[in-house]
Symmetry: C7
Amino acid sequence: MARAFKKFLPMFDRVLVERFAPELKTKSGLMIPEKAQGKVLEATVVAVGEGARKDGKVIPVSVTVGDKVLLPEYGGTKVQLEDQEYFLFRDTDILGKFES
Amino acid sequence: MARAFKKFLPMFDRVLVERFAPELKTKSGLMIPEKAQGKVLEATVVAVGEGARKDGKVIPVSVTVGDKVLLPEYGGTKVQLEDQEYFLFRDTDILGKFES
Amino acid sequence: MARAFKKFLPMFDRVLVERFAPELKTKSGLMIPEKAQGKVLEATVVAVGEGARKDGKVIPVSVTVGDKVLLPEYGGTKVQLEDQEYFLFRDTDILGKFES
Amino acid sequence: MARAFKKFLPMFDRVLVERFAPELKTKSGLMIPEKAQGKVLEATVVAVGEGARKDGKVIPVSVTVGDKVLLPEYGGTKVQLEDQEYFLFRDTDILGKFES
Amino acid sequence: MARAFKKFLPMFDRVLVERFAPELKTKSGLMIPEKAQGKVLEATVVAVGEGARKDGKVIPVSVTVGDKVLLPEYGGTKVQLEDQEYFLFRDTDILGKFES
Amino acid sequence: MARAFKKFLPMFDRVLVERFAPELKTKSGLMIPEKAQGKVLEATVVAVGEGARKDGKVIPVSVTVGDKVLLPEYGGTKVQLEDQEYFLFRDTDILGKFES
Amino acid sequence: MARAFKKFLPMFDRVLVERFAPELKTKSGLMIPEKAQGKVLEATVVAVGEGARKDGKVIPVSVTVGDKVLLPEYGGTKVQLEDQEYFLFRDTDILGKFES
């Protein structure tokens, strides 16, 4: 994953994230069929833009690389980088962070 | 509940709330069937963001953790945190507070 | 009614009002059937928010508790407080005040 | 009419007007049937608000009580005050004034 | 025409214009039937408002009485003043001026 | 063409342009039928407004008379001046200039 | 390609890009039929405008000639310059840059 964010720099207030892998088993160990796997809304920040510009000033984004974040159910732009799937979201569209 | 807001930090002017449990009995003690239970609009604030940013300044949100608030009937984003259901609302979408 | 506005504080520029009771009789004393009773647009202000925030400053609302106001025909949010029906309007949506 | 604007104070940049009576006869003295009477766009200002608020300052309205004004064909809010019909318009929606 | 703009004062950035009379004959002298007469977009300014207000300041309109102007094909408000037809346009909707 | 822009002055940030004549022959000399002639997007600036007004200041337009420009495929207003066809575009709608 | 951006100067915050050539073969060397070739979202910046104007100041664009960028799937304006196909995008619509 490290290579991906070395090579791609999101512009302005865009944030590149990688969704967590979907749960493949239930807590009791049963396989979950792909159709029953919900949309994963947790993601890791892998690259951030320099921030949006407002009246000549740059407003830094509010997340940093490595943050675990909660994504909105809709929105975002799918980005294919070296055969891996990432998503771009505006900084302000990210719902919240998970503290570690 | 305490664990939930230690672990999740809403971004900007978002407020995480937990709706009151629905009334299960009438005042005279009869059970209310689930279909007849109205949508609960009262909620407790469990986590708040740092506030929206406007022209480089941060505007703190107007509610604090523990506040009892009245939610609008529509809007908000359902958030599943550790198998419990919460909702995210923008600070400015909350209708009012109940004084204790 | 006094208890209601002690307990609920509208947020920002929201104003809590209670509509006047509908006219039940004509001037000549005849009962008016419920269907023929028009929507009551006159109301009493029972609680007001601190005011909207604009660029960090708070703009106080233009009505005060006890004011008799004229409501627009559409809009507003119905609020049930202790089995009584109130309505929330934005300060700027109130059409005018009746001088006493 | 004098009583009406003593008792009702429009809020912000709203202007209360009373439309001119429709022409009931042609210039040659013939009665005009009600259906053929056009919508009257001339009106007299009977009460004005204190003005809209912008960044904490109040911008006074541009008409005064007694002004004869031209209304736009659409828009405005019908207001029933003591069994008489008035209309509320935003100051900026009034098309022009007739000089006397 | 002089009487008309003595009596009517457009508000804010509104401009009262009178369209040129339609061409009734071709250059070679043939009558043009009314249906074939195009919409006349050239007009003379007969009255102007004091200008729009922006942040407490008045921005004067960019045309003056007597200017020959080009109107957009759509928009404007027809105004009947003493049985003559005029049109109101916003200052910024006028496309250009013809120099004399 | 010189007469045209002496006589018409676009208002604000409007730019009057004349589209290039369509190609009538292919490079190999064959006639192109009118239907097959594409919409010409290259144009010459023939008159410019003084610029849009923003907060009391005038922002000059970014093109000058004689500039060869690229027009967007949609938008613009057709203007007939002395039997010749011109187009009005907002300064900011012009896509780019061709350096000579 | 060099000639193209010498001759065309995008206006304001517009950026002229040339999309990468589509992949014609799979990694294992098989030809990819044209229909199966996806839309190419990678592009090279070939010319940039001086920047958008905001309150009289010019905000320079965030990419420079030669940058490899990622385009959004929708939007942009196709531009035909000397029989070659380019695209114009607003600076703020470009998703990100690829570091070389």
